[in-house]
Amino acid sequence: MLRIENIQFSYGRRAPHIFDNFSLRFESGHIYGLLGKNGTGKSTLLYLISGLLHPQQGQIRFLGNDVKQRHVETLREMYLVPEEFDLPHVTMERYVALNACFYPRFDHEILRNCLHDFSLSPDLHLGKLSMGQKKKALMSFALAAGTHLLLMDEPTNGLDIPSKSVFRQVVARYLGEDRTLIVSTHQVNDVAMLLDHVVMLQESRLLLNRSVTEISEAVRCEVRPLGEPTDDALFVQPSIQGNAVVVRNDRPDEEFPLQMELLFCCAEAGCLPQELTQTKSL
């Protein structure tokens, strides 16, 4: 559905390359988590996917079209919820009336349900909302737009704790099986339970690109009391409760919740097994 082929990108001729000969593929019907430290290029990758930035080399194709051309049929099938945005000073009803027409599969029922779940009134005025409320309103519109591809850049920034939980419920309930969501975030715990595929970036290269199922089959995370041996651990992170460890999963029949933050630190330290970090051919 979305193919990124050998792209090279930097923010200026003399600036270091954010991406160099970078390739990646996204399939439809999945929720991808784009994880990485600050400055690794997560947001830049989202902007490249949405055609807001153009790679110096390589191309990005969405549904067979080069996103750089910004064809109407491409733009109609993707929606970006950016980290920084501005909404006009109109009512939500007016905003929907002015913008929904551009998206042929816009669903007003989903919009109403999302606003209700986010505890927002359908006749709210966008100019009188706080930043967090505006974000919830925009995410409701994004989910209702019905686009094949939904991109969200730091969606939980600015949301209070209950709203983060509502965000996960709303996405799980209204995203739809044929739609793809790519979430770029450094707040991994906020979206961990949503993801079915993890993409980790480190210094413009792909550190990890595996489904949650593949990761769970290969490793498991657990907390061992202090004093218990950790020789078999791939990665150890001490904490007050004990040692949080990542070990090879020798019990594939059992289910263990993945601790994304721990997994991320393990991947950053280069301690993941080779079968997870090997680049898959596109």
Binding site: Y11, S50, L52, H54, R70, L80, F85, H89, F102
Partner: protein, 274 residues
């Protein structure tokens, strides 16, 4: 090239007007204040003392107000066209504009239509409102004058008649048609310059474009002043008239095309020119 969709274009126009309603309203208010200021300035010297020759004084006052109306209109039209790129001034604005499912031609045409035709309509309404406000403000003065609108229409008619006479009695009466088009061609070229400035500079586009234009005009005038003085008494050359007209027209078209090309190439990250 993608097809231009009229329905989508209509949605774009509607959306642009609503989303930018606040700035459009402020612009219209600015137009009224501009014309009102010009009107007050033109009628102020004549309103406080009754005149010995009221008819002649009134004609002078009305002509002066007409000149100010026209100057203010030109200023306002160029100001408005400089707002074409204002919605691209910051990152959220560029994201919203670029991600909207419409073709580049539709987005560009929508901006042009609103800030050209819309500005023209706003200017006409601004003239009417400013005239009414001036009448109210100066109604208690010793010498109060009525509406200046008929005088404005008459003034424009006299200007056009005088221009036609000058052209007909000039050195090349057979080129009258071309001479008529020269002011229009110059105006179109100026319009295109401010449009290009709007796309390049976005924020404070009018001020920057005006400064560059004035500086360029002064420099070129200084460089060519000796040439003009040497050829001051030469008769007008048909070829030079044609070339001048062609130059302005082609420059205008070229600048509009360039502004469209730059508009099409807009990305999220702003290219730093300075």
């Amino acid at each position: 090239m993608e097809k231009f969709n009229m329905q989508r274009f209509g949605w774009l126009l509607r959306q642009t007007v609503h989303h930018q309603s606040k700035s459009l309203l402020m612009t219209a208010l600015g137009c009224v204040l501009l014309h009102l200021g010009a009107q007050c300035g033109s009628f102020y010297p004549f309103s406080f003392t009754p005149s010995a020759t009221p008819e002649a004084t009134e004609r002078v006052a009305m002509d002066q107000s007409s000149v100010f109306f026209l100057l203010a209109s030109v200023f306002f039209m160029f100001w408005c066209i400089s707002l074409c790129g204002y919605h691209l001034k910051d990152k959220p604005g560029r994201i919203a504009a670029l991600m909207l499912p419409a073709t580049v031609q539709e987005k560009y045409a929508a901006q042009l239509l609103i800030f050209t035709v819309g500005a023209f309509v706003a200017n006409l309404l601004g003239i009417v409102v400013a005239d009414l406000l001036r009448i109210v403000l100066f109604s208690l003065q010793p010498q109060a004058y009525g509406t200046a609108l008929p005088a404005l229409v008459d003034f424009c008619g006299r200007m056009w008649a005088q221009f036609c006479t000058d052209v007909t009695q000039g050195s090349l009466p057979e080129m009258r048609g071309l001479f008529m088009f020269l002011p229009l061609a110059k105006g179109f070229c100026l319009y295109a310059i401010f449009l290009l400035g709007a796309v390049i500079f976005r924020r404070r586009a009018f001020a920057i474009t005006l400064c560059i234009l004035v500086a360029f005009t002064v420099v070129v005038s200084m460089m060519l002043s000796s040439h003009f003085m040497a050829h001051e008494h030469d008769s007008v050359n048909p070829v030079s008239v044609c070339l001048t007209l062609l130059f302005y027209l082609l420059s205008g078209v070229g600048l509009v095309a360039l502004s469209y090309a730059l508009f099409k190439r807009v990305t999220l990250v702003r290219r730093k020119w300075f």
